[in-house]
C-alpha cells in the first residue's frame, strides 16, 4: 500500500462527501468574498494615513490584510483541520474502523487532511484572482521564491500544531486547549489583521513566541516589498526551528495518544 494510494483514497472520500453538501460549498466561497469586501471598505474609508506601522511593509491596509488573510487561511488549515477531521470521524463512528486497518500513524497523518489542503489551495486561488481582478491589488513587487519558502515552512509548522491539537481530540474528545489558543490568539497576536508593531510591548513579546508572527511578517515582506532571503533570514530560521521541534514531536505524541486510546478502549468513543 503506497502512501500516494492512501492519500488519493482519503482525498476521493472527502471530495465525494463535500460534494454531497452542495449549498455549504457555495456559501463558503461567498463568505470568503464577503470577508474580503469588509476589509476593502475599511481600507477605503481610512486610507494609508492612519496606519504608519504599515510603512515597513510598503502596503495599504487592504493589501496587508488581504495578504495575511489569504496566507493565514491556508496555513490555518493545517492548524485546524486535523482536529476537525478527527472529531468528525469520532462522531460518525468511523475512526475505530479506519484505525483497525494496517494503516500506520504517519500515513494517516499524511492523508487525513490532504483534502483540506487541496481545498485551501483552491480558496487561495480564489483569493488571488479576486484580489487582482476585483480589488485591483498590485503584487508586482513580490519575491515569489522567498514567499514560497516562507509558505512551505509555515504550512509544515502549522500542520504540526494541528497534529498536536488533535492529540487532545483523541484523548479528551471535546475540550481542546491548543485549538482554543490557535483560534483565539493567533489572529490577535500574530499580525494577521494589523502589524504586531501596534501591540503594547508586553503583548508583542508574547507574539514573539508564536510561529504565526514570523510567518506573517516574512510573507508580507516577501510579497509587498520583494524581500529576499537575506532580509527575512531571522524569520526563516525561527520557522525552521519551530519545524525541527514540532514536526517529530507532534507525530510521536499523536502515536502515543492513539496508543493510549487503544489501551483505554476509547478509540470508538465520542
Amino acid at each position: 500500500m503506497s502512501a500516494a494510494a492512501v492519500v488519493a483514497a482519503f482525498v476521493r472520500r472527502d471530495f465525494l462527501a463535500e460534494r454531497s453538501y452542495r449549498l455549504s460549498f457555495a456559501l463558503g466561497a461567498l463568505a470568503t468574498l464577503a470577508n474580503l469586501a469588509v476589509f476593502y471598505f475599511i481600507g477605503e474609508l481610512f486610507g494609508d494615513s492612519l496606519a504608519p506601522q504599515l510603512g515597513t511593509f510598503g502596503a495599504s491596509y487592504f493589501a496587508y490584510v488581504f495578504t495575511a488573510m489569504a496566507f493565514f487561511g491556508y496555513i490555518g488549515t493545517g492548524a485546524g483541520s486535523y482536529a476537525g477531521r478527527l472529531r468528525l470521524e469520532q462522531t460518525q463512528g468511523t475512526l475505530e474502523a479506519t484505525l483497525s486497518t494496517p494503516l500506520g500513524v504517519p500515513r494517516l497523518l499524511a492523508a487525513m487532511s490532504a483534502w483540506n489542503f487541496l481545498f485551501a489551495t483552491f480558496e487561495l486561488a480564489v483569493y488571488a484572482l479576486a484580489g487582482v481582478l476585483i480589488f485591483k491589488l498590485d503584487l508586482g513587487a513580490a519575491n515569489w521564491p522567498a514567499a514560497a519558502l516562507v509558505f512551505a515552512l509555515a504550512a509544515a509548522c502549522f500542520a504540526a500544531l494541528g497534529v498536536l491539537s488533535s492529540c487532545f481530540v483523541v484523548l479528551f474528545k471535546r475540550g481542546n486547549p491548543l485549538a482554543w489558543v490557535l483560534n483565539n490568539f493567533e489572529g490577535l497576536l500574530g499580525g494577521v489583521y494589523f502589524p504586531v508593531a501596534v501591540l503594547p510591548w508586553w503583548l508583542a513579546s508574547v507574539s514573539n513566541l508564536l510561529p504565526v508572527t514570523y510567518a506573517v511578517r516574512a510573507f508580507q515582506l516577501a510579497v509587498h516589498k520583494g524581500a529576499g532571503l537575506a532580509e527575512i533570514k531571522g524569520d526563516l530560521l525561527a520557522l525552521a526551528a519551530f519545524d525541527l521541534v514540532l514536526i517529530p514531536a507532534s507525530v510521536w505524541l499523536f502515536g502515543l495518544a492513539v496508543r493510549r486510546a487503544r489501551r483505554a478502549g476509547t478509540l470508538g468513543e465520542y
Partner: protein, 223 residues
C-alpha cells in the same frame, strides 16, 4: 494460521473523577484456534467483543500473550493479520455509496480500486446484496444491507484471521445461508472466529464453539 491466546487481560479504566471502578472485560482468557471456523458464545457483557477487538489489534491488551502463526503478536501485527466485522454495522461514511466505502476501506488495507470493486461485486452476490444497493448511498440502506456491506468489507481483505462479531444480525434467511457458505469456504484457508447469540446459527457455522464468561475462557472449554 494457528492462533493461541494465553491469559489475555483487558481492563477498561474508569473515567477520571467519575467515582466508577475499572472494568475487567477480559480476565485471563485462553483460546486456541487453528485454520477453520471456531464459534465463541457467551452472554451479553461476557467479553466477546472485547476479545475480538483485542485480537483485531483495535485494543491493546493489558496482559497475556497472543501468538499468531507461532509469533508473539502485538496490536500492530494483529491489524496486519486480522479483518474484523463489528457487531454494529454503522462504521461507514453515510454520505458515500456502499461501493465507495468499500473502495476506501479496501485502499487502507492495500487493495487497488479495481480489485476492491471486483471483490465487492463478487461478495455482494454471495450475501445477497443487489448491485443497485452497492451503488446506493450508505445512509439509504436498510440495517440488513448495512450489515452485508460490513461483512463484505471484512471478507474482501482475505485476511488469515477473520473475526465476525454477530455477523448474522439483521440478515434474512437467504443471506444467512449465503453467509454460512462463505464462512465455511473461508475457514478452509483462514482462521475464522464467529460470535452469535443464536445457538442454531453458531452451530451451523462452527463445529467447535468456545464459551466466554466474565472475561474468562477455560482452556479447551466448549459450549
Amino acid at each position: 494460521m494457528r492462533l493461541e491466546v494465553k491469559g489475555l487481560v483487558k481492563v477498561f479504566p474508569a473515567p477520571l473523577f467519575s467515582g466508577g471502578t475499572d472494568l475487567r472485560a477480559l480476565d485471563g482468557a485462553d483460546l486456541d484456534a487453528d485454520t477453520g471456523v471456531t464459534g465463541v458464545g457467551g452472554a451479553n457483557g461476557s467479553g466477546k467483543t472485547t476479545l475480538f477487538k483485542t485480537l483485531a489489534g483495535i485494543l491493546e491488551a493489558d496482559g497475556g500473550t497472543i501468538l499468531a502463526g507461532g509469533a508473539v503478536s502485538g496490536a500492530g501485527r494483529l491489524r496486519q493479520l486480522a479483518a474484523y466485522c463489528p457487531a454494529n454495522p454503522r462504521s461507514f461514511y453515510f454520505r458515500l455509496t456502499a461501493a465507495e466505502n468499500l473502495r476506501f476501506f479496501g485502499a487502507l488495507a492495500g487493495l487497488p480500486p479495481a480489485e476492491a470493486a471486483a471483490r465487492a461485486a463478487k461478495l455482494a452476490d454471495r450475501v445477497g446484496l443487489a448491485t443497485a444497493d452497492l451503488e446506493r448511498r450508505f445512509d439509504r440502506l436498510s440495517e440488513g444491507n448495512m450489515q452485508k456491506v460490513s461483512l463484505i468489507r471484512a471478507f474482501s481483505r482475505r485476511a488469515p484471521l477473520l473475526l465476525l462479531d454477530e455477523p448474522f444480525r439483521g440478515l434474512d434467511g437467504i443471506a444467512c445461508r449465503g453467509l454460512l457458505e462463505l464462512i465455511a469456504e473461508t475457514g478452509l484457508t483462514a482462521t475464522v472466529l464467529v460470535t452469535s447469540h443464536s445457538r442454531e446459527l453458531l452451530g451451523a457455522a462452527a463445529k467447535q464453539t468456545l464459551r466466554i464468561e466474565k472475561g474468562r475462557m477455560p482452556p479447551g472449554g466448549t459450549q
